[in-house]
Symmetry: none
Subunit: 201 residues, 4 copies
Amino acid sequence: MPDKTAPDAARRSQRSRQAICEAALSLVGETGYDKLTIEGIAARAGVGKQTIYRWWPSKGAVLLDAFTETMEAGEGTLPDTGDLATDLKAVLRATVDEFNDPAFQAPYRALYVAMVNDSEVSAGFTSKVMEPGTQAYVDRIRAAQDAGEVSEDIDPRLAAELILGPFAQRWLLRSQPLTHEFADSLVDMALTGLRPRNPRA
Amino acid sequence: MPDKTAPDAARRSQRSRQAICEAALSLVGETGYDKLTIEGIAARAGVGKQTIYRWWPSKGAVLLDAFTETMEAGEGTLPDTGDLATDLKAVLRATVDEFNDPAFQAPYRALYVAMVNDSEVSAGFTSKVMEPGTQAYVDRIRAAQDAGEVSEDIDPRLAAELILGPFAQRWLLRSQPLTHEFADSLVDMALTGLRPRNPRA
Amino acid sequence: MPDKTAPDAARRSQRSRQAICEAALSLVGETGYDKLTIEGIAARAGVGKQTIYRWWPSKGAVLLDAFTETMEAGEGTLPDTGDLATDLKAVLRATVDEFNDPAFQAPYRALYVAMVNDSEVSAGFTSKVMEPGTQAYVDRIRAAQDAGEVSEDIDPRLAAELILGPFAQRWLLRSQPLTHEFADSLVDMALTGLRPRNPRA
Amino acid sequence: MPDKTAPDAARRSQRSRQAICEAALSLVGETGYDKLTIEGIAARAGVGKQTIYRWWPSKGAVLLDAFTETMEAGEGTLPDTGDLATDLKAVLRATVDEFNDPAFQAPYRALYVAMVNDSEVSAGFTSKVMEPGTQAYVDRIRAAQDAGEVSEDIDPRLAAELILGPFAQRWLLRSQPLTHEFADSLVDMALTGLRPRNPRA
DNA sequence: GCGTAACCGAGACGGTACGTCAAGTCTTTGA
DNA sequence: TCAAAGACTTGACGTACCGTCTCGGTTACGC
């Protein structure tokens, strides 16, 4: 006996689910996160509001689902040419281009908002969107460690954050433009560190 | 060139302004950003709604004003004991504690949301809130350069971002807890970089 | 051809409609027409504002509906004792009493205001409220014509107005009190006219 | 002990008074009574709101003042050609034309609303606007009594109402158009009455 | 001829109500 | 049988005015 007349997932209409996700993505691109409404999504999807409320707890959750759907085929690995700096720069430059594309930026920024507000969404976003990307960095760095290109005693995850954190911040704050030069400098600095290579001695 | 019959700032009631800022801060702490309403602020402040709309364009702007007011006395400099790592760790540990304090965290997180949504707020937030803090790091790092503790050819601002970016990211994503250990590791890694200090030694 | 995605009248909640009408009538009696507010009606009726806006275009229209509802059972005929003067006086005296009753007067006066302002309401008021009452007079006068008591060449409708018009004006203007004597005199004068019965000749 | 620090009428600005009256009349013609606002009048007149509140208790009172001002030169008498019917018809036809003029109709209708709502205005309206007009009818009818044209035992004031009441009613209700034919019929019927002139002849 | 007391314009203030929009719940209807 | 359609209550939105108040400035009177 279900506690709350739980919906029967088996009978779920895939057509509706699809339409709702598409509507949510296209609307958030047009109007931004906080003008995104359940009513609007329902109307655009040609669906009753209840169909949304039945399956998602909040508009943030809808957005998260919609977003993850578009990136099913996450390319989980970074290239490995043997030179870590080159590989990281290549990937980060591509990411720069992606985050400068308005069509991609709008829903991503919306998700960020949804996430900061709602720790439910936060968990999903972290594990489904952020984690795969980060893990690819971690793997590549670990490979570099095995090749002796990176010091053994550093934590690869923290190292990944050292690169991705400043990148994300600059994108969020819009404080300075995201450029390829920025990507390159960031990688270089992360690899080298602040301290002089050959201290006095 | 008057934009729209601008209100006369000279006649502005300081009592109201104060009350509105306080109400905004206390409410955002209680209910979170997206349950924060202009009506609620007006009611709590004992003020007509129009008095808010007259002086601020959005609730994000109110929040920004309210927040900046509490940090007028920005501590603009970092300590300088001569050892950069020690100084950065000390400050970052203090920041960790601050960002773990729920009373501080709520309005700050709210501001982040306001900012990601609204590039108007974004600019104000960056220049009034982020910039002073970042600048203190920049100054300290430049001092370290003068002392020969940091390589001459790095950009101090980018270096500051290298530390603050990962920190902000971890706080926003709630992916892992903010601890003193994290602060220390972050500083160490930023100073040293990923590459082995003494390659092939 | 529905103008604007017209609501589906079949699904209309009769409970809400009833409550709104009752609330409107009781409130207008307490506060007068221009202190009557949609918000007040909604609150008193325990109903959302939107439920009012969905079905009525203005507070005048609500009032008109509410008022007509109370007089569904319009007694459409005047007594006919064979003596027109007697019958008219009897009815007009009753009307005097009715219009001196504050409980009746308030909403009626309010409707007058709504009507003078708004020709939409004006038409409804005329056809649903005024017309039935006037028609009863017309019928009785026509009967009197058939009985030879009233001249054949007068227009019964104009005759009805000859009696009701002065009555309504005195009520509206509050210039002099509405009394039974006034009713009697009015009927007498309307029947006899100003001219001497037996002119010189 | 002054009740409310009454303003000093001697120092009143006639320029402002004039401007307010003109603004009130022109605005009520453009927007109707209930869209007429004190703020609007003040703005149009180039006057502070307080200047209105200082001298008038309500917008109805302003309107009444404004209206009476335009009819200072009240034509206090009806023509007397010796034939009452002719004279009454002439005047009533002129009144028909006046009340069909939109420029005149709008403020007059507005005043009616103000009056039905507010018994303060009602008294002023009756005595300053209605009374002079009615009195002219009363005088003319009394003259006709002296000339033997009208029965001695009728009340001239009631007689005046017998004509003016139906006229006002038809104008207010917009139930049927105001025409010269209506004016003529009304006068004829009022003079003759409903009963046959020569019963049983 | 010089305060000084008023009215004046302007408009900010704490409020109320507007008419709209959307949230989230509940009921009716059709396939 | 359940999804759609959509009416319902609730409540915030941003706007328009309310009537009160305070601000300089400008008369115009009384000393």
